[in-house]
Symmetry: C2
Subunit: 731 residues, 2 copies
Amino acid sequence: MSIMETPCEVEKGRINCRIARNNRSNAELEEYEMLQARPRGVQPAEDPSALSVVDVKMYNDLNKADHHTEKYDNPNLIVRRGQEFTIGIVFRRPYNPQTDNVALEFVIGSNPSPTKYTLITVSLGKSDQPSSWKGRILETGDNETKVGITPAADSIIGLFSTYVTIITEVMKKRTKRTSQTDFYVLFNPWSPSDQVFMANENERQEFVLNDAGVIYSGVINNLVKRPWSYGQFKHGILDACLFVLDFGGMPLQYRGDVTKLIRTASAMINSQDDDGVLVGNWSENFSLGTAPTAWTGSAEILLSYAVQGGVPVKFGQCWVFAGTFNTLLRCLGIPARVITNYSSAHDNMGDLRTDIILDEDGRVDDNLTVDSIWNFHCWNEVFMQRSDIPAVYSGWQVVDATPQETSDGYYRCGPTPVKAIKEGELSYQFDASFVFAEVNSDVVFYKQDRYGRTRLVSTNTTYVGQLIVTKSVGSTEPEYITDNYKYPEGSPEDQTTMKRATALGMRRFRTTQPDPDVLLQLQASQQNNYNISLIFLFTNLSKETRTINLALTGKVDFYTGSTRSVFKFFTQSVTLDPLQAKQGTLIVTADEYRAFVQGQPFLSFVMYGLIQETSMYVTDMEVIHLDVPPLSVEVSGELKVGEDMFVTVKFTNTTDTDLNDVTLRMEGTGLLPVKVKTYSQISKGSTVKWIESVTPQLPGPKLLLACLDCTFIRNLCGQVDVFINPDSQDD
Amino acid sequence: MSIMETPCEVEKGRINCRIARNNRSNAELEEYEMLQARPRGVQPAEDPSALSVVDVKMYNDLNKADHHTEKYDNPNLIVRRGQEFTIGIVFRRPYNPQTDNVALEFVIGSNPSPTKYTLITVSLGKSDQPSSWKGRILETGDNETKVGITPAADSIIGLFSTYVTIITEVMKKRTKRTSQTDFYVLFNPWSPSDQVFMANENERQEFVLNDAGVIYSGVINNLVKRPWSYGQFKHGILDACLFVLDFGGMPLQYRGDVTKLIRTASAMINSQDDDGVLVGNWSENFSLGTAPTAWTGSAEILLSYAVQGGVPVKFGQCWVFAGTFNTLLRCLGIPARVITNYSSAHDNMGDLRTDIILDEDGRVDDNLTVDSIWNFHCWNEVFMQRSDIPAVYSGWQVVDATPQETSDGYYRCGPTPVKAIKEGELSYQFDASFVFAEVNSDVVFYKQDRYGRTRLVSTNTTYVGQLIVTKSVGSTEPEYITDNYKYPEGSPEDQTTMKRATALGMRRFRTTQPDPDVLLQLQASQQNNYNISLIFLFTNLSKETRTINLALTGKVDFYTGSTRSVFKFFTQSVTLDPLQAKQGTLIVTADEYRAFVQGQPFLSFVMYGLIQETSMYVTDMEVIHLDVPPLSVEVSGELKVGEDMFVTVKFTNTTDTDLNDVTLRMEGTGLLPVKVKTYSQISKGSTVKWIESVTPQLPGPKLLLACLDCTFIRNLCGQVDVFINPDSQDD
């Protein structure tokens, strides 16, 4: 049950039912409010010379251009806090600042209170008073007076209602609430006094105003670029984002605080605990909803959630949670980006260790191995000032909406300063130790012997968190941001970080056993015919002969590193002369693994070798992401506002199997709503082509993208960037 | 839906279904485990000279006395971690350390793993190996070998199963699981290496082993001492406490970490979000359950929750949450106490301000006043080392299980170091700023004028958090611990704390307006005839005449400070000569308020004065807790084990109203289970007497307590401490 549904009855003595949590029910202020006693029911006589309001103009176009909100497909005014906007008040007679007493009242929520900043009164004229929002008269014409209103730099964000109130000695008379004068207040990265201020205009364009992007997946050696339509300006999305906060029961009075807002939102994007937006599903059965790999963007998800009044949408995995969260953040004006951490350690709270347990033969024991290393994991970063912890930790903050294993049973993460992760300062709120483990865990290999005794085999300190990337500003190329999170492995700064972190309770496994005198390096690559070539290189550092009993486990993995099936186990003995380096090759044919691959095609190989002479061990592991046939998206036609153009999505099944129940999804950011087509079969060797015609309404750069999804192939998308020219007749 | 019910299906790819979260389903290890290949189905031939196990002795009495666990009414062994206990293994032939290979295996949860410390193998004899738990042979007799086992100092706590395993070249042969060799591991405040180590034996006796206590309520000038039976040793309570963790889905692998365990438990004691133990109810309608004021202790609550398999128990308010949480903490071996903060600020996140809004006449405007000051609020403190934040913050930590308003929508609080509150170091996890506001908020009075403009009237910086108390060690007298939380108001250290806190985002209201030149002090006291005497003292500091228009609001409040009803509004004008002090008196008769009082009898008075000459304001407020007739508990008889004794609970209705639907509850810690009696009416002037006979089973100090509850009188308890002598025949 979400909090907003808590029955008020049992809460009565706690007063909190009066805390407004819903932006869909702003209070209506009374039209007439008597200031002197007067018999009930007697309407005040209208004084023909009295001031009265004929119209209130919100100057949408002017204000929206000033406030960088013109892209929102929304009929109401949208402004950013801490920045002036213009309201025009048309009176029946000219306004006289010396004698007339006029106030603007702005209301949010059902129990507006001046001390909670949910009822803001800005006075004009003689009865001036301090207010958190500033007002000034810009221009007084015959009948229209233009007023400049500046919401406080820390104002609550959301939908406010506007009242113009004329105050006389005996009464207040207000305009009636009309949705036309409702307006949205958003965060303001353009304002230096805002908690989310961002100085660089290119960065603001990217992290606040870019409504499309790419999310990286795949593996370190084979980055897969998945296009994603954030769609934060699409019709209904702003209201849907506010609905998420409403449904999460977030008190309106706290909605000006970025930290609190994103912490609530990170819990609300996933459905765990609170009927949030997205249901996670890491199985292979998505028959009750849409496969996480099939989505082209966030808008479809957020709209479905809001339209159905809070029914969680099926299904998400990490990039869907991160993509949807990114839309909410950018939509509300918080600079945000999606990042990808390759080889991300999970299920790992409070120690810096991911355990892999081998059985006596060197085979990965999937029953005993509980931890996993996700091949990749996506989360969000937001750019903000932190006021609740020392100022040095301002800047990019990790927030993560994917429901994870957390020891304390709730599903949210962050904001955590990226800088605190780098420095190992894990005692500051929120959840730093969890993020630290994701990028810094060691992989520890154990072997369990016949007596049930586990023995440490080897430790890999570099495998986890090898690469952290995000989309570059202004391009879809990756920006490598590993250095934001980590000092170089083994550097003095890295050692200081590790020392600090372990002093704060992170348990790091450190062995006292000497390093083995043989090195092992495993490399895997996909060949054109879908076979996998494995090269393992042994280097004997000793001046004696070494004999190695090696064991290789080949597995098909989920992207979470969890084993789907083991398809190969191979053992061999290798003898090395003193100081010899020796290379072995093993070809794994497509036939060996094909039957086991489904979904995102991750194959992982774990190699283990026992050095007979020293009874020591060497290990290495490698993950590859199989290439899949491409999905092409092309456009033809005039690419001009008002002219028909054609989008062609094309796919040729070059795999050696028929594809069944294939879903194709197409979306154009600012161009085309989501369209879905299904094919019961795309047989081996055949090609499908889907052509849609579009008539662009707005000029500028647009992204067209499509994703293909079926049980056999997941995470396959294509995209094309287009520029729509203005209608020539307008020139 | 609690986490343990999450269907595994959709989680498959995330592996976390294998994370054991339930201590009621320990894995059964196989009786025979082949170490060499052997045709299926062929049972190993029994070698008559082979070692085999006849019996495993847990030495309950010996071990429980050593481990301070003999008070638990539980048939199984209970030990504390980091301390050795003795197990006896009876073999069919003598054990030979040189040739026999024996291991003890201890298992917790359904997926025991050596790397998660849920499967611990302690080897005896030839194949020794390092283990987090230590084992040694204490004594080898003819057939019985006594083994000393020391669980790791950071061991998981909970119920472990014991296996004795004999290992030969070809197989392992284990004893079968039997509940007789299951044993509990608890936290160990007696062990210097434990996170909950407490050096002082008197403190350990109080904060871990005392199963009864008092919880303070009432108001600062009239502390009400409510007895509470923690009952952590009662039959079934230890299992109920582990059930709470199970039902909260807390992974077993984290249950050795005190910080994580209490954070989970603080969320699970209340039913919000997670179907936890207690349903909060602050209304006056408790017809669907037991009134929070009616409980005599925690055992009834925890047992009901566990027996019904996780159905939240109705109803709780803060002392019930704190009392029940205290039972869980002490039961698991964590030093804990219940504390009471008088005038506790609430609904107050991120600013240090509680707003009271007066209307134009000086009447408290209950519609606009959203914040509240609880007359008292109870929470828990636990004593522990913090390893996740700098070590200086170890010691007493605040944890609070009462569901509060939190900005981020979840209901848990802490652990927060008391020291961090005192120093204003609010950036360390967890929830420090919330606790800081509870004890440090300023009360800010506003007045709203006819134009809807709010004007600051005055600020009271000392009202909130005036007094913090807990039960003293070894007595029921209060220990005043305000100094643990706060430096003296206005001292240089206090100013440093406030500066630090405001630098970390706490917003403190500071006015630039000068202090008024008139002082106001309000005092309220109950007289013998239930009338209230109000004394207000004005002191004119100026050398001019001052005329004050004063307004007094008299209200009946809930204990949460929320208004139940306003019964009096009184205005008067007072003129003061230069430098004159003048005292006024007002008698509020019982007739004026009687009809409005229900439940806990809190009356509050807010006085406000406008100084005509300066247009400045003075304010003061005072809360009183009405005295109620006493409930007496007396014993008669021999007070000896095995002899009948009698408990008499007596109540005379000296109020001037008939009491209807009265519930009486009686409980004796270690003496008498909870007994409940109801009276349809106790008429004005009449006396009820309830006598129960008891035959004590165990000697030592005991507490007998009773509570009376009805709509008109709540929070009325009586108690008597008795000492039961041992049975003389035993001497």
